[in-house]
Amino acid sequence: MSEKEVKSLEEIFEARIARDEKIEPKEWMPEKYRKTHIRQISQHAHSEVVGMLPEGNWITRAPSLRRKVALLAKIQDEGGHGLYLYSAAETLGISRDELIEQLHSGEAKYSSIFNYPAVTWADMGTVGWLVDGAAIMNQVALMGTSYGPYARAMVRICKEESFHQRQGYEILLTLCNGTPEQKEMAQDSINRWWWPSLMMFGPRDADSPNTEQSVKWKLKRKTNDELRQAFVDQTVPQANILGLTIPDSKLKWNEERKHYDFGDIDWNEFWQVVKGHGPCNKQRIDARVKAHKDGKWVRDAAMAFAEKQENKEVKLAI
């Protein structure tokens, strides 16, 4: 294909997206579109799967049977969401194994929030409320993204996610209505998770070079800063119901803007964790690598078994 032909195909392609048409697998797409989508969808998938670890840490210690089954079901959903997303990425011509390899080698990223430790039961509440809450803001917007398989995975995920945040909030509500010790546990948890949750929306718009292209492809419906603001606006009243204090002395309603003003994020910490030096980066990847390595003989056995069965069937047919 000549450069000119590609250019005109690209124009047609962009116009289709602008008309809200969906792009489906195997259709022509610019190489950059394919690569960007593989990167974003797999990053999203990795986040779901790595995200199972901090919460998984508390399954055996959940304080009641009701909480234990809810937590298990929630983490299981995250595995499912990882699976839907890996499948969506696979429609772009990359295998799950390659994607997993990219995660394990550090080439692919996942949400930095999961590099923070979940050290108390209250963290199960906070992760559900703040972390899932922040994730949902992005995910709801992505239901309308331009790549069909990604959009469909998001629809399914959003439907299932709806109980996750409620699950987390209910945990905190119970703590806040409990003993002073329990309420303190909740407050301590918010103190640790608040700022990392705000960091989940990524760098400031001024420092986020990909935004314009991503907006065009509907990978981003709103900018990082817009989403972060919406999250703060939505979360503060919820914290008030709990009776918890958000650890930001600059947090204040701005009547003029009709938004909350809030303090500065520690961007040094943000970049440190993104670059692999958060409290649990190594631990999380090690756990994933170990599961994959330990599972190899199992996956191989299943494949060998399937091949033997197939050979038997062929022999019977002859």
């Binding site: 799967v49 199972m52 670890l53 998984g56 399954i59 055996t60 210690r61 959940a62 304080p63 009641s64 049977l65 009701r66 909480r67 234990k68 089954v69 298990l72 079901a73 983490i75 299981q76 595995g79 499912g80 990882g82 699976l83 890996y86 039961w121 945990i171 119970t174 703590l175 409990g178 003993t179 010790e181 329990q182 756990a287 170990k290 599961a291 330990d294 599972g295 190899k296 003989w297 199992v298 996956r299 191989d300 056995a301 299943a302 494949m303 060998a304 078994f305 033997k308």
Partner: protein, 250 residues
């Protein structure tokens, strides 16, 4: 009579609780996401059954007992699960073998328990039986895949079977509570399940090209509350919150 019934229910429900807890450890660490999700489903089934049994126990106990006081606030000796279910997740082969050896028994037990004169137990058994039918199919399929898969998987699963075999005989031991409940038409006589159990297990092992162990020395104790060294650690995690922060609502 109530105490015998409660002890009898512990003998059934604690198996589901402890095995559910063991499977819970694996969530997020399975050999593939699909298998991870499947194992978690089994764990959720077992914990769901546990809740039904313990809600019933709590009702029998009265005095403000609830499913959580029953699940979390007993001493190690008061848990009556068999040794098999507390064995660790050494690798996927051990986890699947433990599951398989328990599932075949569990299914046979529930098939009888649904005929119990105790309506509540009969109802729980009836509901659980569908879940356990699926567990049995799932674990049997995996035994076949691993047994007749690669040389490595064959050896690994055979080792797991040999190691866990010594815990199978205890499944068919009768406790005093068992005897009392059988006399009432409530309990199941597990001794009658033994022959079919070994027949079924052996036939699946054979299909999986695996050897049925010819070990004749077995371990026992769980049903009397005398557990393996693993149990203390399981309870340490299970009871952590309830013991550290007593008398709170979660």
């Amino acid at each position: 009579m109530n105490n015998n019934l409660i002890q009898y229910i512990y003998g059934i429900a604690d198996n589901s609780l402890i095995l559910g807890q063991r499977l819970g450890e694996l969530c997020g660490h399975g050999p593939s996401i699909e298998t991870d999700i499947a194992l978690t489903n089994i764990s959720l089934d077992l914990l769901g059954q546990t809740r039904s049994y313990f809600q019933y126990v709590a009702k029998l106990q009265g005095n403000g007992a609830n499913e959580d006081t029953v699940a979390f606030l007993r001493l190690e000796r008061e848990y009556k699960n068999v040794l098999l279910v507390e064995q660790p997740n050494t690798d996927f082969g051990y986890s699947i073998t433990r599951q398989f050896l328990f599932d075949v028994f569990h299914l046979a037990l529930l098939e009888e328990l649904q005929k119990s004169k105790d309506e509540m137990l009969a109802a729980i058994a009836k509901k659980s039986i569908k879940e356990v039918l699926y567990h049995t199919r799932f674990s049997s399929d995996w035994i076949k895949r691993l047994g007749d898969g690669t040389e490595e998987s064959h050896n690994r699963i055979q080792t797991a079977i040999n190691d866990l075999w010594i815990f199978t005989d205890e499944l068919f031991h009768q406790t005093d509570a068992d005897k009392a409940m059988i006399a009432e038409g409530i309990g199941v006589d597990v001794t009658l399940l033994k022959i079919n159990y070994y027949k079924k297990v052996s036939s699946i092992l054979e299909e999986a090209t695996l050897q049925t162990p010819s070990i004749e020395y077995f371990q026992k104790g769980g049903k009397q509350g005398v557990h393996s060294e693993h149990m203390g650690f399981i309870l340490t995690e299970l009871q952590y919150m309830q013991r550290t922060y007593p008398n709170m609502t979660w």
